[in-house]
Amino acid sequence: MTELPGDLLYTEDHEWLRREDDGSVTIGITDHAQAALGDLVYVELPEVGLELDSGGDMAVVESVKAASDVFSPIAGIVEAVNEDLADDPEIINGDPYGNGWIVRLRPSEKIDEDALLSPNAYQDLLDAEDA
C-alpha cells in the first residue's frame, strides 16, 4: 500500500498537486511513482519564469533504470523549483509529498478540477493497475 494524502489532487501520470493559500500550485510525483522508478539519481528542473501549457514538459526524473517525463498538469508559469533536488534527488524517494516537491506554478487559467483525480479516484487507478 502506498501512502495517499487526502488533501491533494492527482493525475493519471502519477503526479500530485497542492493548491496553496496564495493561489499557487505545488506539484510533485506520487509515492507510487517514486517506488516504481526506484532510487532517483537526477532531476532536471525547469527555469523559473518558464510558461507551460497543460501537458507540457515540466521536469525529468531519472533513476538508473528509467527516465520519466513529468508533464505539467495545468497551464501556468514556473514560480519556484525545488533546488535541493539538484544535489539530493533521493529526497523524492524519502518524502515525495513534502520535501520532495518539484515545482510551484502560478496557474495562468482557472484549474479544471474535473480533469484531475481525487484521492479516491487515484486509489482506484492504482488498484486497477495492480489487478
Binding site: 539519481v41 532536471e44 527516465a67
Partner: protein
Amino acid sequence: MPFIPHTEDDTREMLAAIGASSIDDLFDEIPQQLLIRSLDGVPPALSEMEISRLMRERAAQDGAPLCFIGAGAYEHHIPQAVWDIATRGEYYSAYTPYQAEASQGTLQTIYEYQTMITELTGLDVSNASLYDGASGLAEASLMAVRSNRKAKSGRILLAPGVNPNYEKVAVAIAGSQNITFERLPMNAVTGNAADQLDAGTSPVALVIQQPSFPGTLEDVDRLTDWAHENGALVIAVVNPLSLALLKAPGSWGTKGADIAVGEGQPLGIPLSSGGPYFGFMTCRQEHVRQMPGRIVGRTTDLEDNPGFTLTLQAREQHIRRSKATSNICTNQGLMVTAATIYMALLGFEGLRQVALRAQQNTALLISKLTELPGVRRLYEGPHFHEVSIRLDRPIAAVLDALARRDILGGYDLGDALLVCATETKTEVDIDLYVDTLRDILATRDLRRA
C-alpha cells in the same frame, strides 16, 4: 559449411527434440512465395587459403606509396604492442559492457581512456567515443543546442578553418532539426577568422578547428572570448596529437571551450581507407547530461571494492527511446582500446616527441618545396604539421604524375595543395618528393611527366 559445427547426427537429434521433420519445417510460418531458392549474386565459398591469396593479391595491388596526404587522417607509427593486445579475443570479440561484472576489462580501459582524453583536452568529462571526428561535430552541435537553451536561433557558426567535410556531415546528420551552419568570414592572408566579426542573433555555438583544415593556427583565445561574449558555446575541433604542443581547449580564452571533439585516428589507429577510426568528445561537467553515447563511471561493489560500470544510461536510446540525447548505440570501442594502449605507451613526453618530429619534418618539406619554381605558401603564419601550398601548374595533373611514381603528393584543395610529413618520413623521403616534384614541374606536358 564454414563455422557451423553440427554433425548430421546433431541435426537429426535436434530436429527430433523440436518435433520437426526437416530444417525447412522451421520456416513454415514464412509465406512460401517469399522463400528464395538460390543466391546467384553471391559467389561460391572460398577456403581460408583461397581468400587469403585473393586478399594478398589485392592488398599488394594497392601498393605502399610514399604518402604526404593528411587532411584529417595521418600516417603515424603504431607500436606493435597496440594491436597485438587490442586484437586479443577478450577485447576483439567482447560485447558492449552492459553486464558490468563480466566486462571489467573493457570498462576499466574506457575509464582510463576517459581520463587520458580529458587530460589531453583539458576538459572535465568524456564519453566512450563516437563514430569519427566528422560525426562527432554533428553530435556536438546537437548537444550544444540542448545545452544552450537560451539561444533559440539554431545557428551554429563555423570558423573558416573547419574541415568542409565535417560541415557536410554535420548538415546531413543534424540539418533536419532546424539547425543551420554559417561560416565566419576569413582573413585571406592568414586563412584564419577575419578581424571584424558579427555574431548575428543569438548564436548557439561557435566551432573552432585547431589546427585548421588548411593547417594554420587560429587565435583561439580571441575567438573563444568573442563567442562567449555573444552567448554562444564554443565547440573545439582538435587533432589530439597537436595537444602535445598546443594549448588545450579547456584553456582557450578566459573560460575555455565548452565541448571538444575530434578524430582519434592519430592515436594508434591505422589509416585503413578511412575507418574504423573513433570520434572523441569531452566537455565541461555542467553539460554531462547532454552528452551523447556511453559513459563509464567508477563505483563500488557489494563488498565495497572499486569497480566500473556504464552510468548515466537513462540518457540513451535503449531507455529513453524517442527522447534520447542521440540515437547512437554502437560506438568505436575497439579503437578506444587501441588508443588507450597507444597513449599509455607513449605518455605525454612520447606524444610530444612525435608531434615535434612531425612539425619539424613538415617544416623541412615546406622549406625545400618553396625553393622550387612557382611553389609558395598559401597562408602566412604558424602551422601544425600540415601546410597549404600554391603551384603554378594544375594540381590534379601534378598529383596524377606524382602518383604514377608512387608518391601521394597531398590533398587537392582546388586552388592549393595540402601537404603533411609526419614523424614517419625521413629526410630521404622528403628529398625524393621534392626532387620528383621538381622533375614534374619542369615537364611541359604533365600527362607525360
